[in-house]
């Protein structure tokens, strides 16, 4: 969309704040969905709102769009307080989970809808609308589909049309609600890469909601992890993975193994044996150690922190995952190179090579 991006280039540089969410609270019936929620969205960034269902992420997106209104708090677009601004005047592009394409309109009519809905004085000329629809169809690689109807398209194609329709009005921010939620695995992967490309090309400030960690970590510039209506952490994918601020964030970002441990003087011991994991200063006494499946190694004798019996193993993409039953009844999953096969029932020792500790 060449014409659409030029004007925004200056806003994009410098990572200034495009949207500021201030102390937002929202209650539906009696259930609080957002508590005193604050977040800054930088101009030009691709931000993921990641959280389990019921974490308030979709509500937050809808409040930013103006489809819902907060009980308390403010939404600021640039320098403008948009909290009470009606949805039509917010200039947001919203892509709905199930696309919400207009069934009775052709692809071209869908994309042109926002332009045609403008007041006569602000509406581009017919030829201009047609040109822009053509440009957008090129951008989403669906030229030649202008006269089709949504029912004649696949899920992935519909998703792309929905995106083009939202981009057509040159929104200040693009909001996507679980954009790939309704698609099958392969299409999801292709579309992710494609969305990233589109973002890199247009520099459009974009917020998308997802409950899929991989999607958030692969796609976004920054990830905001939500839980129970609160912001747990916001940072680059590397930051949230390397330095999660809470066990909730850590657990939500991938499979974890939970082990009882003792912290003292910055050192963490499991079953009396020292681990390479460092405890933050001040954390003393019984703690929980969280490790990823690849942060456990098979080891023998004193090298092992944990003991267990192999329950089963399976191979996945050149690695193998082994389920190990621990004496106290918990099952942990270990990821290892696919070199040695473990027979079910054989005793193994596990060595912790990394992880994070949090208070009990």
């Amino acid at each position: 969309m060449p014409g659409a991006t030029e004007g925004r280039a200056s806003e994009r540089t410098g990572g200034s704040t495009a949207i500021r969410v201030e102390n937002l609270s929202k209650t539906f019936d009696t259930a609080a969905v957002l508590h005193d929620f604050s977040l800054d969205v930088r101009a030009g960034e691709l931000l993921a709102l990641l959280g389990p269902s019921g974490s308030g992420k979709t509500t937050l997106l809808r409040i930013i769009a103006g489809l819902d209104f907060p009980d308390d708090g403010r939404i600021v677009f640039g320098a403008e307080d948009a909290t009470r601004l009606p949805v039509q005047q917010r200039a947001v592009g919203f892509v709905f989970q199930h696309y919400a394409l207009f069934k009775h309109m052709s692809v071209a009519e869908n994309i042109a809808y926002g332009l045609n809905a403008r007041k006569r004085s602000e509406r581009p000329a017919k030829a201009e609308i047609k040109r822009r629809v053509g440009d957008l169809l090129d951008l989403i690689k669906l030229s030649g589909f202008a006269d089709r109807y949504p029912s004649q398209l696949s899920g992935g194609q519909r998703q792309r049309i929905a995106l083009a329709r939202a981009l057509a009005v040159e929104p200040r921010v693009l909001l996507l609600d679980e954009p790939f939620g309704a698609l099958d695995a392969q299409v999801r992967k292709d579309l992710r890469r494609w969305l990233r490309e589109i973002h890199d090309r247009t520099g459009q400030t974009t917020i998308f909601v997802t409950h899929d960690q991989d999607e958030a970590l692969e796609l976004s510039d920054r990830v905001a992890v939500l839980d129970k209506g609160r912001l747990e952490q916001v940072g680059t994918p590397d930051e949230v993975q390397e330095a999660p601020v809470s066990a909730t964030v850590l657990k939500f970002l991938g499979d974890t193994i939970e082990v009882e441990a003792i912290a003292q003087g910055g050192e963490v011991r499991v079953d009396g044996r020292l681990t390479p994991v460092r405890a933050p200063g001040g954390l003393v006494g019984p703690v929980k150690l969280y490790a990823r499946p690849w942060q456990l190694q098979f080891a023998e004798g004193d090298g092992a922190h944990l003991q267990g019996l192999v329950r089963s193993s399976y191979r996945t993409q050149g690695r193998q995952r082994i389920e190990v039953d621990r004496p106290e009844g918990k099952t942990v999953v270990v990821e290892a190179a696919d070199t040695h096969r473990f027979a079910a029932g054989s005793p193994v020792g596990l060595r912790i090579t990394g992880g994070h500790v949090f208070p009990n």
Binding site: A65, G66, L67, V87, Q88, R90, A91, V92, G93, F94, F96, H98, A100, L101, F102, K103, H104, Y113, G114, A117, R118, A162, R165, A166, A168, V169
Partner: protein, 294 residues
């Protein structure tokens, strides 16, 4: 029993045999159904036209030339012309409110919309007599302001509106519920005003369901007898609708004229049925949306 489930038996059995009755059972059922339809539906319909034309085409046409028949046709058209648009607007508003918003008392409203279908039309008429009649609740006030509702056109229109109240709303509520609000929200985020979104998104999405319900509403509005009969007062040339006119002619043993006028209503019914079937065949998805799980 065990034999029934033996693999060999299953493999040989044709799939259709599970749900298909024997030939003679099928034949019997079909014959009974056809006989029933012929006796109770086709025969009366044929009789209407046969009786209407019993004394030739001239006598048939003569039934429509008298002033009272003209008045009855005019009144029926007028009543439908008021009641149908009224219920169209009300039906869209009510189903919009019910399908797209959550509010207290929603279930009560849905139940109330159905009320006219569950109340006998005669009772519906009586309600209006009790409210607007000379001895009724608002009677003295209406009298003082020289307004006549009962035994006059306004009463007939009111009774017709009441009886045909549920048609549009009942058709549209499930349709709109199924469609949800995502498309409207999409239109709003794209900058459309509420009215523009309604015109360009909501209305096109419900158009065939709407047409279908208007058709049924119109047929009922023109054919309503019970409720209208109570409030009309049967004043010839003034407060007689077509169905009431048929009754008067019949009671006067003027069979040819009675059946001739009745044939008009029967014709209306046939046309309605035809268009309804066409709509159902062509836009089945949209009309039956409420029944679909989707």
């Amino acid at each position: 029993m065990s034999e029934t489930f033996a693999p060999a038996t299953l493999a040989e059995a044709r799939p259709a045999s599970v749900v298909t009755e024997g030939l003679w059972v099928r034949g019997l059922l079909i014959a009974v159904a056809i006989l029933f339809l012929a006796l109770f539906l086709v025969l009366p319909l044929v009789t209407v036209f046969a009786q209407a034309l019993a004394k030739g085409f001239g006598a048939y046409l003569a039934a429509f030339t008298e002033a009272d028949a003209h008045a009855a046709i005019r009144l029926t058209l007028l009543t439908a012309a008021i009641a149908v648009p009224f219920n169209l607007v009300f039906g869209i508003m009510a189903s919009w409110a019910i399908a797209k918003f959550e509010f207290w008392g929603k279930n009560l409203l849905v139940t109330l919309i159905d009320l006219p279908f569950s109340v006998s039309p005669v009772v519906s008429g009586l309600i209006y007599v009790l409210v607007f009649g000379a001895q009724g609740l608002l009677g003295p006030w209406l009298l003082a302001h020289d307004l006549q509702v009962i035994f006059a056109v306004p009463g007939i229109v009111l009774a017709t509106i009441f009886v045909t109240f549920p048609f549009v709303a009942r058709q549209l509520i499930p349709l709109m519920q199924e469609q949800g609000t995502a498309e409207e929200e999409a239109a709003l985020t794209l900058g459309a005003s509420g009215w523009h979104a309604f015109r360009t998104v909501t209305l096109p999405n419900i158009r065939w369901g709407l047409l279908y319900s208007v058709l049924l509403c119109n047929a009922r509005a023109m054919g309503e007898f019970g409720a209208v009969s109570v409030v009309s007062g049967h004043i010839r040339g003034l407060t007689n609708t077509l169905p009431l006119h048929v009754e008067i002619l019949y009671n006067e043993y003027n069979f040819v004229a009675a059946f001739a006028v009745a044939s008009l209503l029967a014709g209306l019914a046939l046309v309605t049925l035809l268009v309804k079937s066409l709509l159902e065949w062509r836009y089945a998805d949209e009309i039956k949306a409420g029944a679909r799980g989707h």
